[in-house]
């Protein structure tokens, strides 16, 4: 197969390095000597999948720390897919060029709701039936994990199992269980797996609906399946597995650098944020561990940049120390440090300047909303004063490009809030004009707000396409000179909203859409809205039921059986506070806000560097 690919197929496609494998630090284990054979499937192109930190962790963990084997596969770009179908080449793994249907387990990473059509397409290309119920004894088990599976229900019919929560806590236990029960049939093995905490086997549950199409009851059909599935989480990040020798792709990928995960979780309690809720509580790594991981990552990859990743890196208690130490150690070799997101205050800029001693790029800030009132509603606890100070510090110290992120369609948003965005941009622009010697570049990206499951806004209606388009025209008609606005597509956001809060009835819609040729829905050039709408109407399902409907507190949600550790009463209270515009403080400073995770999961906020520096930095 490899010879044929290299000679006849790859020379004909764009970016052939996507499909060639053989990268530095790739792990190719002996097939016969390995226990469970799993392929990690990322439902997007190689350069996106290879940038994902979770994949690196799981790939290293399974291959380094167990007798199982894990290989990789990605969604082929349409030119490659066409050739594969024409020449009857099945989707294969990059390590051993083995077709997907020869593995024991095919595990998808669901990072984005709209990647589901790629999942179906990849299964089909790999010779595996797309519907779970149609799979036979010798077909692989098809599983999924990632942030999207905190509401797995729209995808339930396509998967044999979901792994809920932090995969490194769960994957080996799951594979061991399959290994130990090899002699059992498919269904019995799944029943065995169902008793592992964090494993959800959708075929073991039935759902009944009310007349109004909301859920009456969801119940397990057998004693092995728990009524509530609790997420898994790492308790001490210092002790969790982190790869020392990640794969170094030959082609340029999206995040082409070494990466350190400085902490997991975020305690800022922004009410729109999915990751901020489901990945609680905050758990940090210590500076010493991170420095060691930086050394091994850089030494084994040769990257010229190391990125400090997390949901909010500037909140990491050891960030000052870590950045200073890394710049000192690696700066003179031309190796830079980068921060993926910045908090909106002057301290951030000071630190960013430290980082940028080696390299200076665009400064990215996320005020999210245009007025203080609306920022209080969403609990984005930053003030205008902080923001302008940050911008002044940035332009004053030589930056000349700023990008700001906002959302449209937030709960309670009015025209005044949109005006607020424009006023804010005008001020940023004028600060730049005053402080920078060169002409400054100010850009704003406007996303459409999509309410997500498990967040305080899970009861809220999402703004309709018509409303979002109106907001967009309003902003566009009030153009500010030399400020570039870019907008997310409202149709894509609508579909994302349907899937984010959807139920099992959507499976048929997804299948139909895929049959009509939908794939790469996250890529605007391939997104086929018309085909999606036809699929909804074929299945007699109104998407507005999922997005535009204000839900009642009493409603049973499709995702309620998943326990993220956050109490529903807390989410409800947060939603009420939003209505009155009252903020909720950060639990690291203000003490416990009662979300429920720490007592419920017997974990603690884990702050590793609570020294003078950290305290000083937070004042």
């Amino acid at each position: 197969m490899k010879d044929r690919l290299f000679r006849d197929i790859l020379p004909l496609v764009s970016k052939p390095a996507r499909y060639a494998g053989g990268e530095l630090n790739m792990i190719k284990k002996d097939w016969e000597q390995s226990q469970m054979k799993m392929v990690f499937a990322f439902p997007d192109v190689y350069e996106i999948g290879m940038s994902h930190i979770g994949s690196k962790i799981l790939y290293g963990l399974v291959n380094d720390k167990s007798r199982h084997l894990m290989e990789r596969t990605f969604a082929p770009w349409p030119d490659m897919e066409e050739l594969m179908r024409e020449k009857e080449i099945p989707l294969y793994s990059l390590e051993s060029f083995t077709p997907l249907n020869s593995f024991d387990v095919v595990g998808f990473s669901l990072q984005y709701e709209l990647s589901i059509t790629n999942v179906l397409n990849m299964l089909d290309l790999g010779g595996i039936p797309v519907w779970a119920k149609e799979r036979q004894e010798n077909d692989p088990l098809v599983i999924a994990g990632g942030p999207v599976v905190f509401n797995p229900e729209p995808f339930a019919e396509f998967f044999d199992a979901f792994l809920i929560g932090e995969g490194e806590e769960l994957i080996l236990e799951f594979l061991d269980c399959l290994q130990q029960n090899q002699e059992l049939d498919r269904k019995s093995r799944l029943m065995k797996a169902a008793s592992i905490e964090g494993v959800y086997i959708p075929s073991l549950y039935t759902v009944e609906y009310k007349q109004d199409k909301t859920i009456q009851i969801m119940r397990p059909e057998c004693p092995e399946a728990p009524a509530k599935v609790s997420k898994r989480l790492v308790r001490d990040l210092d002790k969790s597995y982190f790869p020392e020798k990640p794969i170094v792709p030959y082609m340029e990928i999206v995040h082409d650098r070494a990466v350190l995960e400085v902490m997991r979780g975020c305690q800022r309690a922004c009410r729109f944020c999915h990751a901020g809720t489901v990945y609680r509580p905050v758990r940090e790594k210590s500076v010493e561990v991170l420095k060691r991981q930086a050394e091994s990552q850089l030494h084994n990859t040769g990257y010229d940049e190391v990125s400090l990743a997390s949901l909010s890196t500037l909140d990491y208690s050891g960030v000052n120390q870590l950045v200073k130490d890394l710049v000192k150690t690696y700066g003179e070799r031309g190796v830079g440090v980068s921060l993926p997101s910045l908090r909106v205050d002057a301290f951030s800029i000071d630190l960013a300047n430290e980082v940028q001693k080696v390299r200076k790029t665009t400064l990215t800030l996320a005020p999210e909303a245009g007025t203080q009132r609306l920022r209080d509603v969403i609990n984005k606890n930053i003030s205008e004063e902080d923001l302008f100070k940050a911008v002044e510090a940035a332009f004053g110290s030589g930056w000349n490009s700023v990008k700001l992120y906002f959302m449209m369609g937030l709960p309670t948003e009015t025209e005044a809030d949109l005006d607020g965005i424009l006023e804010l941009l005008t001020r940023v622009k004028s600060i730049g004009g005053r402080l920078s010697r060169r002409s400054v570049e100010v850009r704003a990206s406007l996303a459409c707000f999509v309410p997500k499951a498990h967040t305080p806004f899970q009861w809220r209606a999402q703004a309709s396409i018509a409303e979002l388009d109106e907001k967009r025209s309003y902003l566009k008609s009030r153009k500010i000179k030399n400020v570039k606005l870019s907008f997310h597509d409202s149709q894509t956001s609508m579909l994302e909203g349907v899937l984010a809060r959807g139920d099992r009835k959507l499976a048929e819609v997804i299948y139909q859409a895929w049959q009509k040729g939908c794939k790469f829905d996250g890529w605007s050039e391939y997104f086929k809205f018309k085909q999606w709408m036809e699929s909804f109407s074929d299945c007699q399902i109104d998407p507005a039921f999922y997005v535009e409907r204000q839900r009642a507190y009493a409603e049973l949600f499709p995702w309620d059986f998943i326990d993220t550790g956050i109490n529903k009463s807390y989410l409800c209270e947060q939603n009420e506070l939003a209505s009155t515009g009252l903020p909720t403080p950060d639990c690291r400073q203000a003490g416990c806000v009662g979300c429920g995770i720490c007592p419920g999961f017997e974990v603690n906020l884990d702050l590793k560097e609570e020294g003078q520096n950290a305290l000083a930095s937070r004042i």
Partner: protein, 224 residues
Amino acid sequence: MRLRAEYSVGPDLKFLANLDMMHLMERTLRRARIPYLLSEGFNPHIRMSMGTILPVGLWGEKEYFDLELQSMSASEFMAAMNSALPPGMHINICREIPAGTPSLMKVVNAADYAFMIKKNDLEIGDITNRILDQGEILVQSRGKNKKQQKDLRPGIFGIVVEPQGEVEVISVQVSVNEPLNIRFDEILDVFVINGISKELMLDFWRRGNYIKKGDNFYSPMEVK
């Protein structure tokens, strides 16, 4: 000091683009802890120049780069690099060159491409002789000025056919860079026009890069 290295790129790496190869080499220098020099300025970069650029789809036996570094012996450099390079890549030889040596880009003006042909009924030797006998070899340019016809004849220095068991290898020496740059895919077009179809081709690669002076071909490693 300045150092020139000759390296090989194996068939598994033939799909790398030029920029990919540059990143690969830079990352290898860092993994191997080579004391390279950085350029001055806002965005410092390693003072390395990839003198020859392999077209995507081809592997290569003898490619070249120059590097500026703090003192390190050629043999130490080679050992460190060869333990850090990915499988399929290898530094064949390297040596210190004088600071004023003209850059590879300026002096490399010839290359040798190989085409492996599977067993067939054609008389390959006759076909290649016929090609060489032509006063003018016109093909559609694949590089700049795509619309234009380009005469390759002045830039084809020789064609040799070597039987290798079940297969035959056609080796073509051509002019590259200035004044006439002959691309590998243009040679392929010439073969197709003269009856050697693409289906017969099992593999292609670049055997080497040379400095041609008069009728003599020198390796870029032969620097005074």
